[in-house]
Symmetry: C2
Subunit: 202 residues, 2 copies
């Protein structure tokens, strides 16, 4: 049971977290799994969950979280802003995960730090499933979508007009990278983001 | 013989090009393989090779180029600035490729456009070899290294002091992402880049 095999390596792995509420309602949202490696090579997994997120509410209720590996730009944008329809989910070891993911890792969670804006949980892997291995060349457009998604979530939180203008300019820089380097999924994802952004800026 | 299986998808795939001179000396350098898909789903592959690059000289001499798929941040930085030692290369269909690559695609090239600063070649796949499939979560640090490598090559070309200062600031932004999100390979690669950059700014 090795999360490394499922794509989780040292540093922060950008993935989709799936969770469920105590009542069993599934949720999906982007997440960063923090992996640290000590001098003996032992790995520890953590996650910071921010105030107001459904992922955080669900983890507090059920003590579990699944990390879904994917390189689908659209999935990152969709799960950042909208609820996925139930057909996007399937079941792994009694827990909701995403059909489309290339790998699933189920973690149990333990609260280790409480801060004003986030809670930090230690994660312990319980089950790993590899669905699909592949070779994938680096695409700058894909990462531009990830960076732009992070920006767009910040826009929805800031009221300062000048700061918003700055964020909008940065978003345009990422949009230019997507237009030049992305495939259709990245272009579609950036189109969705731009719409969200304009909405959030109203 | 499908380059898509070897990780080359629509948009620009950031890879390492290996080539050889007419005399047989191998070379490796980062490259962007441009893939376009027409309305019928047919794929075409192109590459722009810039003035002064060894890859360009070799492609003009031999009419061939191998695209090596990798997510190794260090390999991108090394091949952007230094010559790889011969032990890094192996042979595929009589052509030099990189041991470490997850896949190899050999292309023949045809010159289709001549510009002041670059030549554009149409690429035709001749052989594909998949070495290692994997699951890999997105790491923002890896892409920050790719973006920073592009910046660093620009620094070495610009003499304008203010422009250099701008590039240096951008590089610091990427270095911060690597420090936060990268693993040891990304940190090592960014360390190498910073040294190159300071050198180039002298």
């Amino acid at each position: 049971m090795n999360p490394q095999e499922a794509g989780i390596d040292e540093g922060i792995s950008e993935m989709i977290a799936t969770t469920k509420s105590a009542a069993g309602k599934p949720n999906a949202a982007p997440i960063g799994i923090i992996t640290t490696v000590d001098d003996d090579g032992a790995r520890a997994y953590q996650v910071k969950l921010y105030r107001g997120s459904q992922t955080r509410a669900n983890v507090l209720e059920t003590g579990r979280l699944a990390a879904n590996a994917t390189t689908d730009a659209i999935l990152f944008v969709e799960t950042a802003f909208d609820d996925l329809s139930t057909e996007c989910f399937t079941d792994f070891e009694g827990f909701p995960v995403l059909w489309e993911a290339t790998a699933w890792i189920i973690f149990t969670s333990e609260l280790v730090e409480e801060r004003e804006d986030y809670l930090r949980f230690q994660l312990c892997p319980q089950a790993v499933k590899i669905n699909r291995k592949e070779v994938k060349a680096i695409n700058r457009g894909l990462n531009a979508v990830i960076e732009a998604t992070i920006l767009a979530t910040r826009v929805s939180m800031t009221k300062d007009k000048r700061e918003r203008e700055e964020l909008r300019k940065e978003l345009e820089r990422y949009a230019a990278i997507v237009a030049k380097c992305g495939g259709w999924r990245e272009r579609e994802a950036m189109g969705m983001l731009k719409e969200k952004f304009l909405h959030g800026a109203e």
